[in-house]
Amino acid sequence: MSAVLDVSGLTLGFGQVVALSDVAMTVQAGEIVSLIGPNGAGKSSLLNCLSGFYRPQRGRILFAGRDITALPPHRRAAAGLGRTFQGLQTYDSMTVRENVLSGMHVHMRAGLLDAMLYWPRARQEEARFTELAEEIIAFLELEELRHAPVGALSYGLRKRTDLGRALGLRPELLLLDEPMAGMNAEEKADLARFILDIRDARGIPVVLVEHDMDVVMDISDRVMVLEWGRVIADGAPDAVRGDPRVISAYLGQA
């Protein structure tokens, strides 16, 4: 079986700064892969290349067997690549449910005319997707807040809404950039459980950028370590934890 994601030779520079150099990466079906590394190692840059915000100077990105290297972000999303961002990036004027529904944009068909007339065709589609959105809302235990404007929610709940929105896309691969940064232990545990559920119940492979080593070692099937834009280790959590280069990268930073 071929990999969901197959990246090779990815090289990205900003002027003199080398953000990524010759990075290779694969994600297999059903895998949770964590991406770790010191600050400025290139983790977000890698995700931005994957989702199409940055154009690598060299390299190739195969997603579900298809070359997506040249596609703009919204076409990659339509192809099934979902992601969340570092920090808060929800649609703050919308409710939780509207956020999740907006994640279903690529699966819905209603156009401008349907929107204005709101005739049976549009109404039925809206009702059908509202039920699907409610499934996601129930999964993330946000039922009580479905009509709350997201801008008014706590950090943890907004990150959860962000995740719900990404699930609305029904992705075939989910990229999460530091979803737990700024969370307390309880919120982290909740989110870790959701990530495992996403993989187990929905079969969606996950690429997770995370600084919290306990969480990473707990939930990952595989850990990839970046330093100065290079992959310095890639393997099972236990193997990576003992790798002398990884230890020195982290000790060097501390």
Partner: protein, 350 residues
């Protein structure tokens, strides 16, 4: 917020625009009053309300482009003008009103896309400049085109509309027509807000990077926002042409575009209700100041017409500014608070 005791067991029912019986009754009563108004109101008030309906349609369109989708538009008046000229031309060619209205809307919408397309890579200030260009180009274009098309600098005269063979000549008929079209267009605007297109607009306004990652094509979405907003403008322009019976480029000025933006700001950008409340508030205020100015002029207190005109404009501007400072989210937000307070009364802590 819903009144207590009202809840839904079905997610689809929840999406209704009017969710409770009292809401429906209030709206029905309001509409009935507006329909019956010509029986008691004078010609001046009916004319004013007709213009108000037309303006509200243009501002509803601006609410979609600027309020929902966050695309600045200082050329809405030019799009109203485009609709007005196309409507006048089509009416002269003998087309009936039910065809003229949507065609004028589509023509204005197409024009807006032509202007927005080159501006798609720019945002904010630069986009404002491009829409300004549309506003400046509009009269030049109309005057330069062959006079046989849109009458050139002389403009075009328009005959009263016919609907299903009936000639709508009188002021009352025009009022009822414009009111009816406003109801239809307002419903359409509210519908956009609760559907896929409206969510895409708001997603892009709230966070365009996140919108792209969720498969929303920024180019298409921005163009759709201009298209929809200018469609409303074009319909408003067609009604204007029928109402005033004469179109010339001088009626569609940059100032009018700025007024549209002012009305939307005062009413509240984020919901269609804001467009209606803002139009109502500013139009009535304009009218009050105008008649006060007229009274002053008649009383001959030694002020000159120019000074009075300037003073009323300054006053109007100050009232709008004060409104924005004290309620930056607009009248619609304030209205929502009042309704919520009424529902939880007498227990203010819900």
């Amino acid at each position: 917020m819903l009144p207590s005791g009202v809840f839904f067991t079905d997610h689809a029912a929840e999406a209704g625009l009017l969710r409770t019986l009292p809401q429906r009754l209030w709206l029905a009563a309001l509409l009935a009053a507006l329909v019956l108004l010509p029986l008691v109101a004078g010609a001046h008030l009916i004319g004013l309300l007709t213009m108000l309906c037309i303006t509200a349609i243009a501002v509803l369109g601006l609410q979609i482009t600027t309020g929902m989708a966050g695309q600045v538009n200082l050329g809405q008046s030019a799009f109203v003008g485009a609709g007005a000229f196309v409507a006048a031309r089509l009416a002269l060619a003998g087309l009936p009103l039910p065809l003229v209205l949507p065609l004028a809307g589509l023509a204005a919408a197409a024009g807006s896309v032509a202007f927005a397309l080159p501006a798609m890579r720019v945002k904010g200030f630069y986009l404002a400049l491009t829409t300004l260009a549309a506003q400046v180009m509009f009269p030049i274009l109309i005057i330069r085109l062959p006079a046989a098309w849109f009458g050139g600098a002389d403009g075009l005269g328009v005959d009263p509309p016919t609907v299903a063979g009936i000639r709508l000549g009188g002021a009352t008929a025009m009022y009822l027509l414009c009111l009816g079209v406003l109801v239809v267009m307002a419903t359409a605007a509210f519908n956009v807000g609760r559907s896929r297109a409206g969510r895409a607009f708001r997603a892009m306004r709230d966070n365009d990077n996140a919108a792209r990652v969720l498969g929303i094509d920024p180019l298409r979405t921005k163009l759709a926002a201009f298209f929809a907003g200018a469609f409303f403008a074009g319909v408003a322009g067609a009604l204007y042409a029928y109402q005033v019976r004469y179109v010339t480029t001088e009626q569609f000025t940059l100032w009018q575009s700025v007024w549209y933006v002012g009305m939307l700001l005062v009413g509240g950008m984020t919901q269609p209700l804001g467009a209606i409340l803002g139009t109502l508030f500013v139009t009535l205020l304009q009218e009050m100041l105008r008649s006060a100015g007229g009274a002053l002029l008649d009383a001959d207190v030694g002020l000159q017409g120019g000074a009075i005109f300037a003073a009323t404009n300054v006053l109007l501007g100050s009232v709008i500014l004060a409104g924005l400072i004290f309620e930056p989210r607009g009248l619609a937000h304030r209205w929502g608070l009042v309704v919520a307070a009424y529902r939880i009364w007498p227990y203010p802590h819900r």
